[in-house]
């Protein structure tokens, strides 16, 4: 889709908030809203639930199709659909069309929908041409490449580019940053022991990087890595890339105690 011809400003971006952000860490959603609005977008949040990935990856195609139909309809009025997650954005952009191979009409609809779906940071950089955000974060951070974003959507350099411009933030190399953290959605629970072995190695790599902060673009992976590091008693803080880029790095990190009252 050639967005330059099709889309007139202000760009209407539907925020696909993702269920983990919606439920566990709304601050990531607000960070995404801020980043999109700062870049000149009008953000809308249609009533939504989940992208359907848990059902999809459990082999439940009928449920996934039902959820996909709802999602496609819910975002009908948006120029773009943006998710603060490579995994959910990958589901919308890469897998929705595959769901309807046997329904030509729906397949066309899903393909058109998929073409307007993006992961947040790559959308900011690749589509909106954002080169720098105004944010400050005191710390030394390592970046973990979440699998779907990296391999399905090519999210790699974009977050590094924007993080490089955050004042006070020093980025360090994370060995095996492109290796899976062992989350894998329901995998983390269905194959807990295996998942634990993978995330244990990841936790050691993060520790070895010397970073005091771990940054990633997917809340699922962050919950997994933060949960493991906290269980092991490591002091590394885990934060979503959107929070750091939006200057919301002073909030309690993932799994940290609440500083004040709930909003």
């Amino acid at each position: 889709m050639a967005e330059s011809e099709a889309v007139k400003p202000p760009i209407r971006v539907g925020l696909f908030v993702t269920c983990l952000v919606d439920l566990l860490r709304p601050s990531v959603g607000f960070a995404a809203v801020k980043l999109l609005e700062d870049a000149g977008c009008k953000v809308i949040v249609p009533s939504q639930s989940c992208c359907g990935q848990p059902a999809f990856n459990s082999g439940d195609r009928p449920s996934t199709q039902a959820i996909a139909r709802r999602t496609i309809d819910a975002f009908a009025g948006c120029d773009y659909v943006v998710a603060p997650s490579g995994s959910c954005a990958g589901m919308l952009a890469k897998h929705y069309p595959e769901l309807f191979v046997d329904e030509p009409e729906m397949a066309i609809k899903a393909t058109a929908f998929a073409a307007k779906c993006f992961e947040l940071v790559s959308f900011l950089v690749d589509r909106l041409g954002v080169k720098r955000v105004s944010a400050r974060y005191e710390g030394v951070a390592a970046y973990h490449d979440s699998c779907s974003g990296l391999r399905e959507l090519g999210v790699r350099d974009q977050p590094r580019t924007l993080l490089a411009g955050v004042e006070g933030l020093r980025m360090v190399e994370l060995a095996e940053s492109d290796v899976c953290c062992g989350f894998g959605g329901t995998f983390a629970v269905k194959y807990g022991e295996l998942s634990d072995a993978i995330v244990t190695r990841k936790s050691a790599k993060i520790d070895a990087s010397g970073a005091d902060t771990l940054i990633a673009g997917d809340l699922g992976c962050l919950l997994n890595m933060a949960g493991k590091m906290q269980r092991e008693g490591r002091a590394v803080k885990a934060r979503h890339v959107a929070e750091v880029l939006a200057g919301m790095g002073d909030d309690p990190a993932i799994g940290e105690p609440d500083a004040g009252a709930a909003s």
Binding site: V17, D178, Y191, E193, K228, A262
Partner: protein, 475 residues
């Protein structure tokens, strides 16, 4: 199915592997392949174009497989060889045992062959009183140990140098007990000397094939040691055991596939030995086998053609998928419980031994996609694993707890209004419980998670509830 699969007990196998200190010391070696593959790919600007070319060649071959099989058989026959067709394991074993018995064979020198593992050839030969001698160093080591390969190109990757020394001392009793075996070179020299005699005295040489060429009736193997090449040169009879999917139209096509095979496997540009065999010894030839036989095995491949798992038939057995797999790295190959480990095994195993037996494997993946990213044949391995999960779901083979959980969750996911209301309440409640510590070390219904790691507490009201409150919208 000849080899008993422990795949249904995958979780037990995983536990065993993770608590096996010796195995955990050996496993990191599998990661060495990552850097070597990356370097080889980086050194060849045409690598990605070659992957496309390789995929197209296999897709074309598979779409015309019946015709290429007929051509191949004709060309083998023309060059003085024989093709034996085998529908399944039983037929393949019968053909090979008949060939051995008719020639009074006492020993078979084997080049490395995963298909021979698939049909359980060694056990069948031993059962018939025929010695099967594995000649690939790694295969020889695990044969001594009574184990199966744990990797399709590095069968003994789960074994340490110390293990090899202990095994050699245990089995090579005829050698002086006080000999020095501290250096890997000494272990190699000892194996070379022992196997050299076995090569020279073997009655039959049996190899697999990396490719079968329809154009010329040629079989191709690649090795680094030269073992498969000796196995098909020295004995009087050469038997090639290969599955249908090894067919390739022409030598020029094989040249394309060879360019991606070794690079994806070990990071070499080409393996040391690429040996092309066409029929038996010719008049005037001073060496080479007097008979050349090909056992062409189906064993479920024909049923995969044209279906959801047809892409898997492009596989050229390079092992790149397992070399890059976090699950394989964690537990090694034996945990997969049958012949083929790693992502390719996770797709192939249910195809060959049934999803009831092999269904655990396609579920035990995070779908990280690294296997697909490095597969030279661009096989969409995660998608194929997902197709197996769909088959299981359709056939109600998905565990009841998972099915129930997904059903419960999907009920809400399909009803956004109800979903928003229920989740907001639940998150507010959890927040109140967890806010002081920020996370849970244990939570009912989340034991699978909290057994190994903490779970961050929710921040309170859901994003959607806050957004609607903020923007004044009515819920």
């Amino acid at each position: 199915m000849s080899l008993a699969a422990t795949t249904p007990h995958f979780k037990d196998n995983v536990h065993e592997a993770l608590t096996d200190a010796r195995l955990q010391r050996a496993l990191p070696h599998a990661r060495n392949f990552i850097a070597t593959r990356a370097a080889a790919a980086a050194r060849l600007p045409e690598f990605e174009a070659l992957r496309d070319s390789a995929r197209a060649i296999k897709d074309h071959t598979l779409a015309h497989l019946d015709l290429y099989l007929e051509t191949y058989e004709r060309k083998v026959t023309q060059s003085g060889g024989h093709v034996h067709w085998a529908r399944d394991t039983g037929e393949a074993l019968a053909v090979i045992l008949d060939l051995c018995k008719a020639r009074g064979a006492k020993s078979v020198a084997k080049g490395k062959s995963m298909v021979s593992e698939e049909i359980g050839l060694n056990a069948a030969l031993e059962g018939a009183g025929i010695a099967a001698v594995e000649t690939d160093l790694g295969e020889y080591i695990i044969q001594l140990r009574g184990e199966a390969p744990s990797h399709i190109i590095a069968p003994a990757i789960h074994v340490t140098r110390d293990d090899v020394e202990a095994d050699f001392r245990r089995f090579h009793r005829e050698l002086p007990a006080d000999r020095d075996l501290t250096q890997p070179e000494q272990l190699l020299a000892e194996a070379r000397a022992i196997l050299r005699d076995k090569f020279l005295s073997a009655d039959i040489g049996l190899t697999g094939a990396n490719f079968l060429i329809a154009e010329t009736g040629t079989s191709i193997i690649v090795t680094n040691e030269g073992n498969g090449d000796l196995a098909q040169t020295l004995p009087k009879v050469h038997v090639v055991l290969a599955s249908l999917d090894k067919l390739v139209p022409t030598l020029n096509d094989a040249a394309q596939l060879l360019r991606v095979l070794a690079r994806s496997a070990t990071g070499q540009d080409l393996s040391v030995y690429t040996t092309l065999s066409t029929g038996p010894r010719r008049p005037g030839d001073p060496d080479g086998p007097e008979e050349y036989h090909v056992v062409l095995l189906d064993n479920g491949r024909s049923a995969m053609l044209g279906g959801q798992f047809a892409d898997m038939l492009r596989c050229i057995r390079c092992g790149a998928c397992m070399n890059h797999c976090p699950v394989y790295h964690a537990v090694g190959g034996h945990a997969y419980g049958w012949v083929y480990p790693g992502p390719m095994g996770a797709v192939l195993t249910p195809s060959l031994i049934g999803v009831e037996q092999g269904g655990q494997l396609p579920n035990a993946s995070t779908f990280c996609g690294r296997c697909e990213a490095v597969c030279p044949m661009r096989i969409p391995l995660p998608n194929l694993m997902r197709h197996w999960r769909e088959r299981e779901f359709e056939r109600h083979l998905t565990p009841a707890v998972v099915r129930g959980g997904i059903g419960f969750w999907a009920f809400f996911a399909k009803r956004p209004g109800l979903y928003r209301f229920a989740t907001d309440l639940a998150m507010r409640a959890l927040h109140l419980i967890g806010r002081s510590r920020g996370r849970f070390a244990w939570l009912p219904f989340a034991g699978g998670w909290t057994r190994y790691r903490d779970l961050a507490a929710p921040q309170g009201a859901t994003f959607q509830a806050r957004w609607r409150a903020k923007s004044g919208a009515v819920r």
